[in-house]
C-alpha cells in the first residue's frame, strides 16, 4: 500500500480537504507534525484525537511527531516508500540553501498547502 505523508499544521485546516480526498483511496496516511517544543503536548492530543476519528472510519493511518528541519522529514521520506509529501507552507522556511537541498534530494512529488 502506498504511503501519503501529510504534515499537519493545526492553524491551517486545509489538511481536512486532503483527508477527505484520501479517504476515497485505499492509501495509508502517515500523519506527522513538527511542533515547537512547547506545543508538543497539544499536537500529540490533536493527532491522537484525529487518529480516533480515522480509526472509526476504518482509514489506514499512522501518527508521529518529529523534531528538526526539513532534513528530518527527508530522512523519513527516504526510509519509507512514499507516493507524495504534503507540506504546510507555514511550518518550514521554504527558501534558502536547506530548502534547495531538500528539493534536490526529495524522491517523490511535493504538494504545498
Amino acid at each position: 500500500m502506498a504511503n501519503i505523508i501529510l504534515i499537519i499544521d493545526k492553524k491551517n485546516d486545509f489538511y481536512k480537504r486532503f483527508l477527505d480526498y484520501f479517504k476515497k483511496d485505499k492509501k495509508k496516511l502517515i500523519l506527522l507534525a513538527f511542533p515547537e517544543k512547547e506545543e508538543k503536548g497539544e499536537y500529540w492530543h490533536f493527532l491522537f484525537s484525529l487518529g480516533e476519528k480515522l480509526q472509526k472510519e476504518k482509514i489506514s493511518f499512522s501518527i508521529g511527531l518529529e523534531e528538526g528541519s526539513l532534513f528530518s522529514l527527508l530522512d523519513l521520506v527516504k526510509t519509507i516508500s512514499c507516493e507524495i509529501v504534503i507540506l504546510p507552507k507555514s511550518k518550514f522556511l521554504l527558501l534558502g540553501e536547506e530548502y534547495d537541498d531538500f528539493l534536490k534530494e526529495l524522491n517523490c512529488p511535493l504538494l504545498i498547502y
Partner: protein
Amino acid sequence: MDEYNQIFKKEFIFLDLEFQNQDELFSFVEKLLKEKGYVKEEAVSLLLKEREIIGSTGVGHGIALPHLFLKTLSFPLVLFFRLKRPLEWEAIDKKPVKVVVFIFSPENEQEFYLKLLCYIADLLHQEEILSSLLKAKSKEEVFQYLVFQKKISIIKRYQNVFIYFLSLFLIFIFSKLLFQNIKIPDSPFNSYLWIRKEYIATTLFFSMVLGTLLFFPYRVAFGGIALTLLLLTGVTDIESTVKFMAIPTILFIIMVMIMVKWLSEKGLFKYLVIKAIRHFGNSPLLLFASLMFFSSILGGFIDEVSAILITVGIAIEIVRLTKGNIIPYLIGLVMATNIGSALTLIGNPIGIYLAFAAKFTFLDFLKNATWLSFLSLILTIFFILLIYRKDIGLKTKIPEKLEEEIDKKELKVSLIVFLTFIILIINHSFIEQLLKVEERTMLLGAGFLIVGFILFYEKEYSRFFVERGPDWWTILYFMFLFANAACLEYTGVTEKIAYLLGEGAKRIPFFRVDLKETFGNLTILLWGSGILSGFVDNLPIVAALVPVVKSLVAKGIPDGHLLYWSLLIGGCFGGNLTMIGSTANLCAIGLYERTFRKRFKFSDWLKAGIIITFLTLLFANILFLIRILK
C-alpha cells in the same frame, strides 16, 4: 502528576522480556489481563491486531503505543514493556521497537484516555527520558521516570534562562565593583559618568556572548537587543554605532563569501582536493594525512567553513566506501582547518578583523602567522594519526564519479579568477603604494573586482550568488558583535583591562626583565583567548581583546605587535578544544548528524581536543618565546 501516579503500577512494568513477534507479546498481554481479572471474555490480542492493521501504533524512535478501549475495564490501565529483542512494528520510521506501552481505557473515560496517551507519548519522545528508561536497572527506577521525570524535565527546560539571568546579574555586580576600583593615573575614564558606561557596556556585551552560548539560534536577536540598550542608556550614539560596525571588514567578508560560493559551485575546491589526494593517498594513513593537509590549506585560502564542508563531504564518501569510522576524519579535518585558518589573512573572520583593526598586510601574515600555523599543522597531523591510527578505514581511492561531476571548462575560469584574487590580495600593499591610495583599499578593491566579474559572467544567474553566497544571518551577527565589542573600547573598559593585564604580566617570572611584560602579556593573551575560544565563538573574544592589545601596544612595550598574533593563534587553535569551539566544528558536526542521523557526543571530541589544543598552544608559546629572544 498525582492522577498518573494512580495509573502506573510497578506490577505492570516488565523489563527485558523476550518475544519472538508482535503476536506473542499481544497474547502475553491478554493472558496477563485475564489472570489479574481486569478482562473476562474480550479477545484483547485480536483487538490489538486489528488496531495494528488499521495503522501501526509505532510512533517512531523505537516506541510503540498500542491503545484500545475495553468495555469491561472500570479504570485506565498502562502496561510498560522494555524488550530484550527489538520487534518489527511497521513503525513510521521503519525502526524496530524497543519500548512498548499499552494503554487501555474504559469507553466512558475518553478525555482522560487521550490525555494519558499524550502524556506518555510526550514523555517517551524526550531523548533523555527514553535513554534513561532504556538504561534503568529496576522497575522502581522506571516507575520514578514515568511518574516524576516530566516535572524535572520542565525545570531542565528553563535552566538556561536561569543561568543566563544569574550570570548577567553577577557580571553586573562584579564589573561595577571592578571598574569603580581601578584607577588609571591621569585617565578620563575614572569619573563616575564613564564608570557607569563601563559596567553597562560590559554587562550588555556579555548578554550577547552568553545569549550566543546558551541560545545559539537566537544570537542575532541578542545582539540587536544589546545594541538597542546601549543606545537607550546613552552609552553610545547612532553615529558611533555605525562606525563601530566595521563596515570595511564586513564588506570584505561579504565579497569573499560570494566568491567562495561561486568557486564552490564550479567545483574548484573539490577538484583541487581530489587531485591532491590522488597524488598522495596511497595508504589509508597517507590519505587521511593528505586530506587533513589540504583541508588546512583550503582553510587558509578560502574560509574555514567552506573548507570543512568540502573536505568533510569527501571524507563521508570515503567512509561510505570503506565502511570505516567517520569520527577520526571529522575531528582531524576540523582541527587541521582551524589551525590552517591562521595561515593567511582571509582564512578566518578574526584574521580579517585583525588585518583591518591592526592594519596588517597579507605579507605581515606570511611573516608572522603562516610559518607558525604550518609547523603547528605538521604537529597536529602527527598526533591525530597517533591517536586514531587504529580507527582509520581500509585502503581506498577517491571514487571516479566525484571528478566526473565537475565541468572542466568552468573549472579553468574559476581557477583563473581564484588565482587573480590571491595575487591581488598578496600584493595589495604594493598596489596601494603605487596608486597612492589609503591602506587596505586594495583588499576591498580585490573583493569588489572579483565579485564584479562573477556578476557579469553569471548574467541573470548572478543574483543567486549574491543572495545565497553570504550567510546574511552571520553577517548581521558580526555587525552587532563588532558594535558591542567596540563599545568596550569606547567606554574605556579595554583600557582598564589592559592596565590590569599589564600589572599582572609584571608578576610572571621571566629571566629577561626588559622582555618580561611582552612575554607575560603574550602568554596570558595566547592561553586566555585559546581556552575561551574553546567555549565561546573566537570572534567575540578577539573583538573584545583587540582594543586591550591596542592599549598595551600604545604603552610602547617591546615587540608589542606580537600580541595581535598571539590573539590570532589563540583564537584559531583554541577552537579545537571543544566541539563548539568554532563555526567550522559546528558545521562539520551538523553535516555528520544530518548524514548519519546520529548525535555527536561532547566526549568524542574532548580527548583529542584537549591534547591537540594544549600541544599546539604550548608549541606556539615556545615559538613566540624564541621570536622575542631573537
